[in-house]
Symmetry: C2
Subunit: 556 residues, 2 copies
């Protein structure tokens, strides 16, 4: 692949259609479009039909490795593949965060010939949604600190209990832990910190809201902290809801763009997969299902986190039902879970495939527990061996699962036609019978138990003394019916990222709980969770440039 062009080169060499032509393909009238330049448009919430008829395809993955499994690329490729076979398919995906663009990882708009465009805009400020979410989050912070020093209208907040952090969409480790309010006239001295914007509960809320009313209801229910009597204080107590919602008036509208093959893609929202649901907005998904016959969407991390949260949080809260699940795998990820190191990936090793399959197998079984038989999509890399493909396909067949190679990165939609046909067949067979593994009314501990044992394969769940105390408070505050949003390493089914493959006989420990009462979920923390990345020694920012004609280089 030495001569294979860079993502930005492919993107810049693609002539885009005016976004109104993309809209026409899915019957959006021009007057409904709110243009942001020629290649982006916001879509009105009214495009949601009350009874959408599209089929929902979730793209998820085996336990991810640092080499990248290409879930977004596969989702875009599948969308283009479906369109190649004359299906009306729309990709509905997350918007990327700005932070990683300047760090190590680069952008997140697909790769190779399976990208969404305009790549530069999507990876930069796009239509301002993240900035709006950031402002709404930080307005609440400013109102909290303003109230702390307000003698007349005090809510008697106990500063030590304030759980609401400020956010910035930037990889900036220096802001993780800070002291604010230093100096006589500068508010109340206290510890605070900045998370990256996708980690804001406002992001999680926006992506779970059905409409403005639901958005405001959820914003109002954000738990800020406790007052001096130990009672919970919410954003609505600060009268913050209207102003926060006003800041989100445009951000709540999904964004229409196009794939390299000029098929429609709706990008909207981007909550972290670690401490939130890790998938695009419910409104975007519903608009997609109202306009297209097939919607291809994805959820962050592996299926143990992404798909589980998709099913239990997004589907349960918003009434969505998946019709098919695509599990992305790569030979190198299988080999990693089979115990090989990167240096060994290029050598054919069928035994390692057999060993590493254990990881994928567990994900297959998990999806089957939800009543859906997944389709495995093998994201092709140049050095892949046919013998390894054959082995993997055979192993999947033993689980009753079809595995298909996709070359969408190199060939776009044409490279995903086989996958598209298998997916359509699966949907036409109406085999999918999605059911959640837990009910909201189950106890918090039972819900955690279900996820830990059924999905992760853990033998038991333990709770730190802090977690036990918090659990009491969660029930006391009336949050028992909330969903569970696990914060666990994606690298392993367990909480120990070194336990690759399909670990067994392990326990997990809930170290601490966080409450996202606006998003309506409880977050059990199983380990350290990164909420604000840092920049590497040589940040990608140093490579990025723009010439006098406005042509950007160095984005990846």
């Amino acid at each position: 692949m030495d001569n294979f062009p860079s993502d930005i080169a492919i993107a810049q060499n693609t002539k885009m259609l005016h976004i109104k032509e993309i809209a026409e393909k899915i019957n959006i009238p021009e007057e409904s479009l709110e243009y942001y330049g020629k290649y982006k448009a916001k879509l009105p919430l009214e495009l949601q039909s009350s009874n959408p008829t599209g089929k929902l395809i979730l793209v998820t993955a085996m336990s991810p490795t640092k080499y990248g499994e290409g879930k977004t690329t596969m989702a875009i490729g599948l969308t283009d593949g479906l369109n190649c076979t004359e299906k009306n398919a729309i990709a509905v995906l997350r918007e990327p965060s700005l932070g990683p663009v300047f760090g190590l990882k680069g952008g997140a708009a697909g790769g190779g010939y399976a990208q969404v465009l305009p790549m530069e805009d999507i990876n930069l400020h796009f239509t301002g949604d993240f900035s709006a979410i950031e402002k709404a989050n930080n307005l609440l912070s400013a109102l909290i600190d303003n109230n702390l020093q307000n003698k007349k209208y005090s809510l008697e907040l106990d500063p030590k209990t304030i759980a609401w952090k400020r956010v910035m969409d930037m990889n900036d480790r220096s802001l993780r832990k800070i002291i604010i309010g230093i100096g006589e006239k500068n508010g109340t001295l206290r510890e605070d910190g900045f998370n990256i914007t996708p980690a804001s509960e406002v992001m999680a809320i926006l992506c779970l809201s059905k409409d403005f009313e639901d958005l405001k209801f959820r914003l109002g229910n954000i738990l800020i902290g406790k007052n001096k009597d130990g009672k919970p204080v919410f954003a609505k107590d600060l009268k913050a809801v209207g102003a926060m919602a006003v800041l989100l008036k445009d951000a709540i509208k999904p964004n229409l763009v196009q794939t390299i093959e000029k098929n429609p893609a709706i990008l909207h929202g981007g909550p972290f997969a670690s401490i939130a649901q890790g998938t695009n907005s419910a409104i975007a998904t519903k608009i997609g299902l109202s306009l297209g016959d097939y919607v291809v969407t994805e959820a962050g991390f592996g299926a143990d986190l992404g798909a589980e949260k998709f099913f239990h949080i997004k589907c349960q809260q918003t009434g969505l039902k998946p019709d098919a699940v695509v599990l992305v795998a790569t030979l190198r990820a299988i080999k990693h879970h089979g115990g090989l190191t990167a240096a060994e990936f290029k050598t054919e090793n069928v035994a390692a495939i057999e060993k590493g399959f254990a990881n994928l197998e567990k994900h297959i079984e998990n999806i089957q527990k939800f009543g859906i038989n997944p389709i495995v999509c093998i994201n092709a890399f140049p050095d892949d061996s046919q013998n390894e493909y054959n082995k993997l396909i055979a192993l999947c067949a033993l689980k009753g699962v079809t595995a298909v190679v996709s070359t969408a990165f190199a060939h776009g939609g044409k490279g995903s036609i086989d996958l598209a046909q298998v997916v359509v067949d699966e949907i036409n067979n109406e085999n999918s019978n999605y059911k959640p593994l837990y009910q909201p009314s189950d106890s918090i501990e039972n819900k955690i138990n279900t996820i830990a044992k059924e999905i992760y394969g853990a033998s038991s769940v333990e709770y730190s003394s802090t977690a036990k105390m918090q659990l009491k408070e969660i029930i006391e505050f009336g949050f028992n019916n909330f969903a569970i949003c696990m914060a666990k390493t994606p690298a392993s089914f367990s909480e120990n990222e070194k336990l690759i493959g399909r670990p067994s006989d392990f326990k997990i420990t809930v170290r601490e709980f966080e409450i996202a009462s606006g998003a309506q979920f409880i977050i059990p923390l199983l380990g350290d969770v990164m909420r604000m990345p840092g920049l590497p020694s040589v940040p990608n920012a140093e490579q990025i440039d723009i010439d006098n004609n406005g042509v950007i280089s160095g984005l990846s």
Copy 2:
């Protein structure tokens, strides 16, 4: 005025034209427009002609009071007034900051029947320019802190010398002074702080840049701090320029909107008037002068700061030349400078007008020193008395200056027709012969002396020992030819806001210097400068709401 509708009611009851119709009026081809919805568009830099023929009208004011003199309202009214008399006039103004919208002050898009629309969008995120500037500023901060902890590629920055602050477009006093980098893996512990986004040097730079090349040159020259040998370290040393410029790729393009009377208005940039030049971008002004016969623009604070900086910083750095100056006054501001309190404003008091005129008189004389005879615009209020008007007009006439009452707030353009005719006559007479009072090559001290004595009427300038030391360094670093950007209270010609009217026999003291080497000016601080406002006890945020149909209330 009890029954006079609120600004937002007037705005929401105005049917706007599609922005392409506004563009047509000034011959912008539709393909040049980058739409942001139906009522906003970004304009390409190519609309600047090499030899623009429009006439430039600067709207400035007497020393401002807390009651508000309505400079922006008068500028919009004059634009509409000119259009009422069949002139092709464009308002070219600053974009408002988000912070004050949620504080006490409310928005800043004019008032009454002299507003720019869509009012809600302009006062909220608008087209994302402020967010982009914020990100570019904060990316530089993240790169600075990343370098501080970088052993391999260290610039050996001395953390104590770092002058670059983070910014946020929010009234948030708790962030004024903070400690960052707390914790083992979270960078280098140091003091930092957040300014409000309009106070970012990136904002000042964007608004002074001619094109992308100039923007990048200036961004590169931002002084970050000093290394351990006391040598200056610049943004270009951090390789931050390309990435910062990429973040500003859209923000550099001016924004077209419309007045209530459907005349074109270009809003672009909004640097603080206190520590920066306080006026919209040079690119926007030049595009205005390329498309319109008349451009009405404004500069923050009174003429001693706004007009002086407009002439010495903006005009000198970008080659612009004003053709007319409008000095806004109100009877109540004159009375304030005549020693009356608010309770006394409503009672006719011609003697107080005579006394308070001293303030306006000094501003008139100052503008005349720049070779331009100003026109005084009296912004009418409901309780104004005709005798007071007559007195004020007569006093102006004694200085050779025409004073005209404008009722643009109540009547829009029709209320500014008289003013428009006087302005056009003044321009047709070609009396304006703009010349600066100092040359870039003058010494820093001489430049400060010129402003202090000629404009403020000070008897002498003193320097603190800190300022004296900094002055040496400024010369050593090669910054002698930079302009001066005074940071002084706008409430008085002196540095003491209590010295109203026309004080004399006062000295000013330069307490400290700041260096804006990207914006190419030196900032002498004469007192405490507010760079991050706070929220009041009852923030305006509490009143703001949005209903389920997206209709906003409570913005002002």
